[in-house]
Amino acid sequence: MKLLATTTRYYLLLATLLFILGSFGLYQGVNWALRTEMGEQLAARQRELLDKARTNQLPPVALLKTLLLVSTQPQPVGFRDTLIYDAQEHEQVPHRQLTFALPTRREGTVWVTLRKSLVETEDLLGVVLAVMLGVLALLLGGTVLLNRWLASRIWAPFQRTLAALRGYDLQQHQVLKLPTATVSEFAELNQALTTLSQRLVADYENLREFTANAAHETQTPLAIMQAQLEQLLQVPALAEDPAAAPLVADLYGATLRLSRLHQALSLLSKIENRQFAHAQPVRLDQLLAEKMAQLEPLFDARELRYGLDISHPPVVVQMHPGLADSLLQNLLQNAVKHNVRGGELAVSLSAQELAISNSGLPVEGDPARFFERFRKHNPASDSPGLGLSIVQQICGYYGWAVSYSVAEGGTRHRLRIRLKPDSAVPSKQKTASLAAPNQPRNRAAPPVAMSPE
């Protein structure tokens, strides 16, 4: 519920309550004033009749009877309310009446009753209520209109702040830019948010630097370990001890795994930090064919039937050549890793789409989670489970949609990448290409440079 609606609700509740009380009070007040006035009028008439009686100017009682309600029997004196049937209106009408004793010369004391209709007070009540309800309705309508106006005017800075927050992306390393607000509460809010985002950006930057430094510093000892272990394997004494060599070999293998994990993680963090601004036209069809040829022995080893279908070459995409290489490598490797012996692997590439489908064991779980980091189907596997995560990051970087589907009872897996950016993403691409001039050494490389041959 909106803040304004909430406050208005209480405000209107109070207003209604006050209006009820007010109407009641007003009615009572006006009613009391009218009755008092009525009583005064009756009393004045009484005084007039008594004066006339004293000065003997009264008409005879018989004549009086035609004008007034006169009784020769003693009646209770004083003011009273009574209901009289009105023959014309066909209803009981409330009256105020005053009964008093009137001494006359000729016929002795008679009791006179003066009456006045109170019917006007009911009309009055109607008028009072109508006026009050009218004002209440005006107030309600007015409040709603006022709120609309307020919402669009006074709350506008707040809405702007909210929009800025929604669109905020820490990975762009920008401090939140908020317009200055005239309302002091909003100004304070904006200031607090700006301070917060400054701190966040600084922390993020520190963390990023730390990660980058840590990654870089880890690389060197890993390279040393790998080189020294390889040298250790050459020591002739090692060949004489059949137990020692496999130990060193295992150590060597573990070092390689560690360095591969390290490479994958730093690649991921670099993509997240948008450090691959340098995009150039990449012949995806050539690169794909090259990669397939390179992995051929791996396909053969698993006795896979494989096929590559490229419709309408050349397929050229704008991307970082290193990322293109990594993308295809991870996709193909994933398709081999999750394949079965003697299975199938089909790759098709068109200008719109890259699709890889492979046979494999049925998998359980939510397909969306396959892209999570360190996710692997076989927990005993040597691979750290970062392949698909890297695929997703690279595609996300260029705004391509990745979809996974499964068919034939869960044994045919299909990954599709739409090679056109989503409509929502060009802004990101824009930042990527805008960042390019900051990298002075970016130049095009011959495509052959990407293959480690």
């Binding site: 990654a215 870089h216 690389q219 060197t220 890993l222 390279a223 040393i224 370990m225 790998q226 080189a227 020294q228 390889e230 040298q231 394997l233 050459q234 060949a239 059949p242 060599a245 496999p246 060193v248 070999a249 295992d250 060597y252 293998g253 070092t255 390689l256 795994r257 591969r260 490479q263 730093s266 690649l267 670099k270 691959f276 340098h278 990669k291 390179q294 992995l295 051929e296 022995p297 791996l298 053969d300 080893a301 698993r302 050549p321 290193g322 490598q329 490797q333 081999v336 890793k337 596997s381 040597d382 691979s383 050494r441 970016n442 130049r443 490389a445 011959p446 440079a449 293959s451 480690p452």
Partner: protein, 225 residues
Amino acid sequence: MKLLLVEDESALRTALRSSLRQAGYVVEEAHDFAQAQEKIMLYQYDCVLLDLTLPDGSGLDLLRALKAEGSPAGVLIVTARDALDDKITGLDLGADDYLIKPFHLSELNARLRAILRRRQFQGQQQLVFRDLLVLPDLAEVHVRGELVTLTRKEYDLLLYLLANPGRVLTKEAIAEHLCGDAVDAADSFDFIYTHLKNLRKKLQEKGADNYIRTMYGVGYKLSHE
């Protein structure tokens, strides 16, 4: 063959030096930019092994200096993986090849061999190992004078072994050499085994000695004995 090894990490330099000396190279070292620059100016090398990240300068500047001087030396760049753009720039500047840290020493040997072969013999050369003769330009393999027909991968494998005679080659290094880097080790050992088995069979059919030795649990070795 005289090499200049430019590497700032002393432990890595030591390992590289001993590996390269085992492979029969004369190795000179430089541990920073200034020293490397001095040596490049003073001496001639057949190949420079160049680490791009040096404490007092960029290896790319050394590469520029080398090329500006018209040096005939081959250049093999060694970069960190995250410096992809540097690698591209390096190749543009005229480096012969690149290696990404961390790398297999046996891979380094293979790359160096290829560079030196391309640069110095202009292709007119042959590789001889015991009763084996390889003509790289014709991609021909002869055993005791008889031609052996090998598949592409078997041939690559043999060249890799020949680039590292007497050296223990790990399964991982062979797998990466044949399948490109970052291949999952466990997946690829089967095919190395298959290819090696076929290669051995083809060589022995022509009467070659069994010099491709299996190092149990480690890898393979092209043995002199």
